[in-house]
């Protein structure tokens, strides 16, 4: 059976990763906008972002715009690939016939 990436395979982190993966390559999102889209508390979102950052899936940049601190979040190349592999694994689980490497049970 295909192993599902445990870093992404948790409801909150899957929502974060899917949201960031929908951004175009090279785009990044501010922390408040991400929080608003997901409807998560700042603390909760930070916790999950840290786990994704530790895995190297997410890059967090703290900067200033007109003297106001801004935090940008984006998926790294590794994160984007991990998300693609994860969705491919899900599809293979749902339709084993479509994946020749999978033996239907």
């Amino acid at each position: 059976m295909t192993e599902l990436d445990p870093v992404i395979h948790a409801q909150a982190r899957l929502r974060v990763t899917a949201t960031l993966a929908a951004l175009d390559d090279g785009d990044r999102m501010t922390f408040p906008r991400l929080q608003e889209l997901l409807g998560m508390t700042a603390g909760n979102l930070s916790t999950h972002l840290r786990k994704l950052e530790d895995a190297g899936y997410v890059a967090i940049t703290k900067t200033h715009q007109r003297r106001t601190p801004v935090t940008f979040v984006e998926l790294t190349r590794t994160g984007r690939r991990a998300f693609e592999d994860y969705t491919a694994a899900l599809r293979a689980l749902l339709d084993p016939a479509a994946d020749p490497s999978e033996v239907p049970s």
Binding site: L14, D24, P32, L37, N44
Partner: protein
């Protein structure tokens, strides 16, 4: 914002099934898709009203000057609303897509101002009632380009329909030309907007 308790433990749980996980992905990503329907519905209604304003003027219900004022007011208000929707859609996002969004928005402005300038330059040679057709045709070309670049058959078809309506309008005698343009063009955009809404 939803008032949600920070149930880190619950949210740390894996999705119930692979199908559930895919559903979560689809839901989150759909939330981020720009609301294209809003642009189409807004401009469809504006277009319809402009067509009716000119149709009424040709039948003497009101003066042509009133139709000109109505057209200008509608276009200015709709342009401002379009800019607001665009800025709201892209808020909190930085990078290449934000830049291309600005370039795209300015591109429309330049194309429409340019069309207006060309129409004005030739104003002594062509019928005044042919003016809107030029804008409509340029808009159709831009919709078609969006459809091609965004892999959207719906936008591409809308662009083709709008160009066709512009050509048909150009060959339709007054006063029916304004009605064809208003109901045909405005209607095509409203239908496109509704279809976009249904596809979300």
């Amino acid at each position: 914002m939803q008032n949600r308790e920070p149930h880190t433990d619950v949210e740390d749980q894996p999705p119930a099934s692979p199908a559930d996980a895919l559903a979560i992905i689809q839901r989150e990503q759909a939330r981020q898709e720009p609301h294209y329907s809003r642009y189409f519905l807004l401009w469809g209604v504006v277009w319809l009203l402009i067509g009716l304003a000119w149709f009424g003027a040709q039948f003497g219900y009101w003066t042509a000057a009133s139709a000109v004022v109505a057209t200008l007011v509608l276009v200015v208000v709709a342009t401002a609303l379009t800019a607001v929707i665009g800025v709201r859609t892209g808020r909190g996002i930085e990078g290449p897509s934000a830049r291309s969004g600005i370039m795209f928005g300015l591109g429309w402005l330049v194309a429409m101002l340019g069309t207006g300038a060309i129409a004005t330059a030739f104003s002594s040679g062509i019928q005044v009632s042919a003016f809107p057709v030029l804008f409509v045709f340029v808009a159709g070309v831009l919709y078609m380009a969006i459809g091609a670049l965004e892999h959207s058959r719906l936008d591409y078809a809308a662009g083709l329909a709008v160009q066709l309506i512009a050509v048909v309008t150009a060959f339709t005698p007054a006063p029916w030309n304004t009605l064809v343009m208003g109901i045909g063009g405005g209607g095509a955009l409203v239908i496109t907007g509704l279809l976009h809404r249904r596809h979300r």
